[in-house]
C-alpha cells in the first residue's frame, strides 16, 4: 500500500505481440542457431518440456524480451536478447532476470523493479512489462 509522504514511483510500461507461427518457422529454418541466439538455457529447458506448447512459450518469451526493451528505452543500441531472461516460478508466474547490457540499462534508468505477464492464444503471444522507477 502507498505510504503517505513517500513519493509514488514512476512507471514505465512495455508490451509486445509475437506470432507463434513465425517463431515455429524460425525454429524450423534456423534451428539451434535461432534458439541459442535468443533464449537462455533456462528458457529453452522450460519451453521444451511440452513440445506441443514449445512455440507458444518461445513466442511469449520473445514478446517479453521485446516488451522489456521498450521499458529499458535503449535507443538504437539493443541489448543481447539473452541478457533478458524470463524465469518461471514453480507457482506458475514469471519473473524477469536481467544480466549484462540489459542490467546496465536498467541501472542507468534507475529502474527499481520489473514485473511481467505473458499470455498466448489463437496463434499470438503477448507480454506486458511494468517497471517502477524511483526518481
Amino acid at each position: 500500500m502507498h505510504e503517505p509522504g513517500r513519493p509514488s514511483p514512476a512507471l514505465r510500461v512495455g508490451t509486445d505481440l509475437c506470432s507463434v507461427e513465425q517463431v515455429a518457422e524460425s525454429v524450423a529454418t534456423f534451428g539451434e542457431r535461432y534458439l541459442r541466439r535468443v533464449y537462455t538455457n533456462h528458457e529453452l529447458e522450460y519451453c521444451s518440456q511440452n513440445p506441443a506448447l514449445s512455440a507458444e512459450r518461445l513466442a511469449a518469451r520473445f514478446a517479453a524480451k521485446e516488451a522489456t526493451m521498450k521499458v529499458l528505452r535503449p535507443g538504437d543500441a539493443r541489448p543481447d536478447w539473452r541478457t533478458i531472461e524470463v524465469r518461471r516460478d514453480p507457482g506458475g508466474w514469471c519473473e524477469l532476470a536481467l544480466t549484462g547490457s540489459a542490467a546496465r540499462l536498467a541501472h542507468d534508468a534507475a529502474i527499481d523493479s520489473l514485473s511481467v505477464s505473458l499470455s498466448h492464444e489463437a496463434g499470438m503471444a503477448n507480454a506486458v512489462v511494468v517497471a517502477t522507477l524511483f526518481e
Binding site: S19, Q22, S26, F30, R37, V38, E66, D76, A77, R78
Partner: protein, 83 residues
C-alpha cells in the same frame, strides 16, 4: 554484388509489407514492415549469406534499418575479418 544479395535475403526473410525491389537502398525497412522478430531471422540469414556473425555492438536497430545500413555493417565485419 553485396547489395543484390542483401536484397535477396530481405525478400526471403524480412517479411516486409512491400516488395523490397520497390525500396531504395536508404528506405527505412521498419517502415516497410520489418518487425522485431523478423529482424532476428534477417540477422541469422545475413550471417549465413555473408559468413559473418553480428556482435552485440552491432545488434542495433539502425544496423538493419536499410539496405545501405546492412551493407555498411557487413563491410565493417568483413574488414575486421581481414585484419
Amino acid at each position: 554484388m553485396t547489395t543484390d544479395r542483401i536484397r535477396e535475403v530481405i525478400a526471403r526473410h524480412g517479411r516486409l509489407a512491400v516488395d523490397v525491389a520497390a525500396l531504395s537502398d536508404t528506405d527505412d525497412l521498419y517502415r516497410a514492415g520489418l518487425t522485431s522478430h523478423a529482424s532476428v531471422n534477417l540477422m541469422l540469414a545475413l550471417e549465413d549469406a555473408f559468413d559473418i556473425e553480428f556482435p552485440e555492438r552491432l545488434l542495433r536497430r539502425d544496423t538493419f534499418e536499410s539496405v545501405a545500413a546492412i551493407g555498411s555493417a557487413i563491410h565493417e565485419l568483413h574488414a575486421e575479418l581481414n585484419v
